[in-house]
């Protein structure tokens, strides 16, 4: 249905005279070139301006290397947790009526509407030395803020809408009959989830995970607040880029930045591929 109506509106724009159409396309292209391709190309050309040797040396530098490891660790913990949360939350929201449902929906959107800096500050407020739980944590010799746990918590907070937001509409639009057929055939609730619900939304899951991962690895604001910027200890890749840049170490800064740019490119490619598969599944069913 939706396809039909969008095809019709597409035909309507075809009635515009050709020069107008070309002008519109050219404007869009110019915009993309100026704001996307040129900066992206600049990052890579700066990164390799002093050759491969310098590039690799910059990445192998111990502080940078530990920033890379921390970023991978943060993503490796926060993405799976958000995946589980997203699956559970979207299933509950799409399939059941319960009190507090609209509140839950609003809360899921919270990280999108709150500045990342605030998201970081929340954790400093909670777990920092002057925070609510600070004294208790200190008594038990636990360090959360200005350490890896704080960074992971802040990252989880900033990235938890991605999977859930992607899956809620998908699960809501899924026909009840597929699940009812499973129940009538004797599948348990859990079997129905793993054999019917999950395969149905698998491309949506992948889509959400990719976006979640991109954000988890690239998050700056919230992480910056809770990190404390301890070199070789609590710096993630984006923070490391900033430090190198502020030290006028441009070649190294761009070398590290090129990793994030590469991540963005890979994300885009996988994302388009997943979108293609989702569209195909939609046509088939």
């Amino acid at each position: 249905m939706q396809h039909n109506s969008s095809a019709r509106s597409g035909n309507n724009t075809n009635t515009e005279p050709a020069p107008v159409r070309w002008l519109l396309v050219a404007t869009a292209m110019l915009f993309l070139t100026l704001f996307l391709f040129v900066p992206l190309a600049a990052v890579f050309s700066e990164a390799f301006s002093k050759g491969w040797e310098t590039y690799l040396a910059a990445l192998r530098e111990p502080d940078t290397w530990s920033a890379i490891k921390l970023t991978v660790l943060v993503a490796a913990i926060s993405v799976p947790l958000n995946l589980v949360f997203g699956l559970v939350a979207s299933w509950a929201i799409a399939k059941f009526a319960f009190p507090g449902k609209s509140l839950l929906l609003t809360l899921i959107d919270l990280p999108f509407s709150v500045s990342p800096v605030i998201s970081g500050l929340i954790y400093v407020l909670l777990f920092g030395l002057q925070g609510w739980l600070g004294p208790w944590l200190q008594d038990h010799d636990l360090k959360i803020v200005f350490a890896a746990p704080g960074i992971i918590l802040a990252t989880i907070f900033v990235t938890f809408p991605f999977v859930a937001r992607e899956l809620i509409p998908l699960m809501e639009s899924q026909g009840r009959e597929e699940e009812e057929a499973a129940l009538t055939l004797g599948a348990s609730g859990l079997q129905t989830f793993f054999l019917v619900t999950l395969p149905n939304v698998k491309w949506g899951v992948l889509y959400g995970v990719i976006l979640c991962n991109a954000r988890a690895m690239g998050e700056f604001g919230a992480v910056s607040v809770v990190s404390g910027h301890i070199r070789g200890m609590t710096n993630t890749v984006p923070l490391q880029v900033e430090i190198l840049y502020n030290e006028y170490n441009y070649a190294a800064a761009f070398a590290v930045a090129s990793l994030l740019a590469l991540l963005a490119l890979v994300t885009l490619v996988v994302k388009s591929w997943v979108e293609f598969r989702m569209k195909r599944q939609e046509i088939q069913s």
Binding site: G175, E177, E178, E180, A181, A182, L183, T184, L185, G186, A187, S188, Q191, L195, V196, P199, N200, Q281, I283, Q284, S285
Partner: protein, 265 residues
């Protein structure tokens, strides 16, 4: 056939729904119905008369507001693979092949892979889809899809088949063909069949008994025994006799529904 046991028993079953505006709507007013083991019963009636609600109550997708629904003497508390529902929209899994779809219920039951495969293949043979086992649902016609859904149900060897307007989305030719297929399968495997339709000819072609329902509130208007042997020739005089009988009654139901609608406006 003299000592028949009652397979499904509805006693004073009622179902209400409360609309979003808080109005109470009676979908099924108190009704009694007994269905014998191995019987083929059709539920017919104009749309909105509670056919789907009634079959959902029997299949365990809904709980009665009052009264009781029992199968084999036990109250129905939820869906059960011994009584399988077949839907109008098939409910097939697009990411599974035909064989994979038929295997679903067997896997859910935890039947060993080899045995499950043999049973699935045997059922697909039964519905004449042995050649299509590796196809995906989107490659099949509507009639073939419904045959996969039937095979998927039969593979689990249920004692009751519930079917809610299963052929309503199919063209007339495919529909006749599947009606004959279903009768053949029923005669070979003898499950109890409860078949909802709004097509009176379909009901006469299939049912040993036809339960005619009326709306506002949903109730049983009349139960008609169709004493013709299967398969039934749709052009014969005795078929026409039952057809006339049912159409006259249906016309009455329709007239009443229209009058009530006028009063309520």
């Amino acid at each position: 056939m003299s000592i028949q046991t009652s397979k499904i028993k509805l006693s004073a079953v009622e179902k209400h729904f409360t609309s979003a505006r808080g109005e109470r709507q009676v979908a099924v007013s108190p009704l009694d119905l007994e269905i014998q083991s191995g019987e083929f019963v059709c539920l017919v009636g104009p749309s909105g008369c509670g056919k789907t609600t009634l079959i959902n109550l029997m299949a365990g997708f809904e709980q009665p507001s009052a009264g009781s629904v029992t199968i084999d003497g036990r109250p129905v508390s939820g869906p059960d693979p011994d009584h399988i529902m077949i839907f109008q929209d098939y409910g097939l899994y697009p990411w599974r092949t035909v064989l994979g779809n038929v295997l679903f219920g067997l896997q859910a039951k935890g039947i060993p892979a080899g045995e499950a495969r043999d049973r699935a293949l045997a059922t697909l043979e039964l519905v004449g889809l042995r050649h299509a086992i590796d196809k995906h649902p989107h490659e099949l016609s509507g009639g073939m899809k419904q045959r996969v859904a039937i095979a998927r149900a039969l593979a689990v060897e249920p004692s009751v088949l519930f079917m809610d307007e299963p052929f309503a989305a199919l063209d007339a030719f495919t529909r006749y063909h599947l009606q004959d297929e279903l009768l053949r399968l029923w005669q070979e495997t003898r499950p109890t069949v409860v078949f909802v339709t709004h097509d009176l000819d379909e009901a006469i072609a299939l049912g040993q008994r036809i339960v005619l329902m009326a709306p506002n509130p949903g109730r049983i208007q009349r139960v008609l025994e169709v004493s013709l042997p299967h398969p039934r020739e749709r052009t014969r005089d005795d078929f026409a006799f039952f057809r006339r009988e049912l159409f006259t009654e249906f016309h009455l139901v329709h007239q009443m529904a229209l009058q009530e609608a006028e009063y309520s406006i």
